[in-house]
Amino acid sequence: MTPKTTHPAYNVYLQQLSREKRLIKYGQSIIFICFFAFWEISSRLHWIDPLIFSSPSRVVNLMVRYLLDGSLWFHMRITVFETLAGFFIGTIAGVILAFFLWYSKRFSAIVDPYLVVFNALPKVALGPIIIVALGPGYSSIITMGAIICVIVSALVVYNGFHEVDANYIKVLQSFGASKWQNFKEAILPASLPTIISTFKVNVGLSWVGVIVGEFLVASKGLGYLIVYGFQVFNFTLVLYSLVLIAFLAALMYQGVAYFEKWLLKKLR
């Protein structure tokens, strides 16, 4: 620890810093308020078609109603569960695949062209096939959420495995370590930061997979509400779902970001 010192100029610096932070907060609030105010006003004055674009007050009314009758919680719960399940399954499967790629050079060489193709493929295009194969239910939707992030995380993590300093392996091998011991003692712990760094990306990807999956088959969930609202021309419902998804996705992203920070700190 360096000893605590201070200087009059330091206080000035701190004041400027907090002023700057305050200005940024103001700016952000102004954008937020202006956006919703403008939306509300233009809808009321019929600058935009209220039937299509709804208005914040209608969305809020709907939200309150659904909150009270429990349907908000019901649909939200399903989608969040599917997303988390897709995220965990996709990430873990990706790490396991990366392990096999690392473990056997031959395996990695054999599957390489397939990985390239599969990685380039827009995974949501597989939706109909997954649904036909697994039936229209949770499992299809979760698979959509998982499959969309599995290959890319496998490739990123596999890369991370390769970047581990070979001299750590040399140390272990000088004690006669097996390949599995190399993995357990050096490769995996050294790559944990890389693995964790895929979390944030994966959670976003899982949302995409799950929402598309719900578009295709579901009879519940936020993605379903969007499609349903669209079909019955209830755009207040569509926008309500959208707002909820934006909020939840941001929350989950922040949660993963905090988790990442916490884990990295713990690993230090």
């Binding site: 750590y168 000088s174 004690f175 370590a177 230090r268």
Partner: protein
């Protein structure tokens, strides 16, 4: 019969485009308890040779015997120290020191005490539960030494273990290492490109040349210098004489090497 015998070791690295001749027909013998240096410019195959002795790679040709038997037919521990400590940053010092027996599946309950004893021996107390990044470079290399000694290695291979340290730390650690190894009667091979270090620490020096890597000459360090600590040895007149001799020989080799390249 010598303790360690290398007979006609040659090594080639293969890849799709090249076949690199890294070592050519290396033979030498080491007596038990002796300290040998392999001195040569970088790229002359020193690391390759140590890796072969440590059985990390198989030589293309040749055999290695320890105590008269082929080394790969015995389950013996060989200690290997690298340029840097390569302590695992996520393990405590104690767990780092204990990794050898755990990997070798020879772990017994008394080993924690043994590890703590070794840490005290290398001059480190009260750090068992710290992490490597809380230690200085010299301390970390001492921990690495303790880790290496933990498996009671029959042979110690040192691949420029002092090269990443500042000069003062290096001198202190050299002296310390020699004392430790004498205590434990370890047979050691040190790889270095530092002439002074080779003279100050060794009983015998093998001078290597590059392209392909081979033993050029064998130099025996005079008795008077041998028995001094590395710091004292550096002040002895015989040290300077030997330094000059090796310096000239290495320069000669260098010129020959350059000439053969064009």
């Amino acid at each position: 019969m010598s303790y360690l015998e290398l007979a006609s070791i040659s090594h080639y690295y293969f890849n799709e485009k090249h076949c690199t001749h890294a070592l050519d027909n290396i033979s030498f013998q080491v007596e038990k308890g002796h300290f040998i240096s392999l001195l040569g410019p970088s790229g002359c195959g020193k690391t390759t040779l140590l890796s072969i002795i440590a059985q990390l790679i198989n030589p293309t040709e040749g055999t290695i015997k320890l105590k008269g038997l082929p080394i790969d037919q015995q389950n013996i521990a060989i200690g290997y120290m690298l340029q840097q400590d390569y302590l695992f940053p996520w393990k405590t010092i104690l767990d780092n020191v204990c990794i050898g027996p755990k990997i070798r599946r020879e772990w017994v309950t008394g080993d924690y005490d043994k590890a703590k004893g070794l840490l005290t021996k290398v001059g480190l107390t009260d750090i068992a539960n710290k992490y490597p990044d809380q230690l200085s470079g010299g301390m970390r290399q001492r921990v690495a030494l303790a880790r290496t000694l933990m498996t009671d290695p029959a042979l110690l291979l040192l691949d420029e273990p002092f090269s990443a340290l500042d000069f003062q730390t290096k001198l202190i650690l050299e002296a310390f290492m020699i004392d430790m190894l004498k205590d434990y009667q370890k047979t050691s091979l040190l790889v270095t490109h530092d002439i002074g270090e080779a003279i100050a620490m060794s009983d015998d020096i093998f001078l290597m040349k590059a392209n392909p890597g081979a033993i050029h000459s064998h130099i025996s360090v005079p008795e008077q210098v041998r028995n001094l600590s590395p710091i004292e040895a550096r002040k002895h007149p015989e040290y300077h004489q030997l330094f000059d001799q090796i310096w000239k020989e290495m320069n000669q080799l260098d010129t020959e090497n350059d000439a053969s390249r064009v």
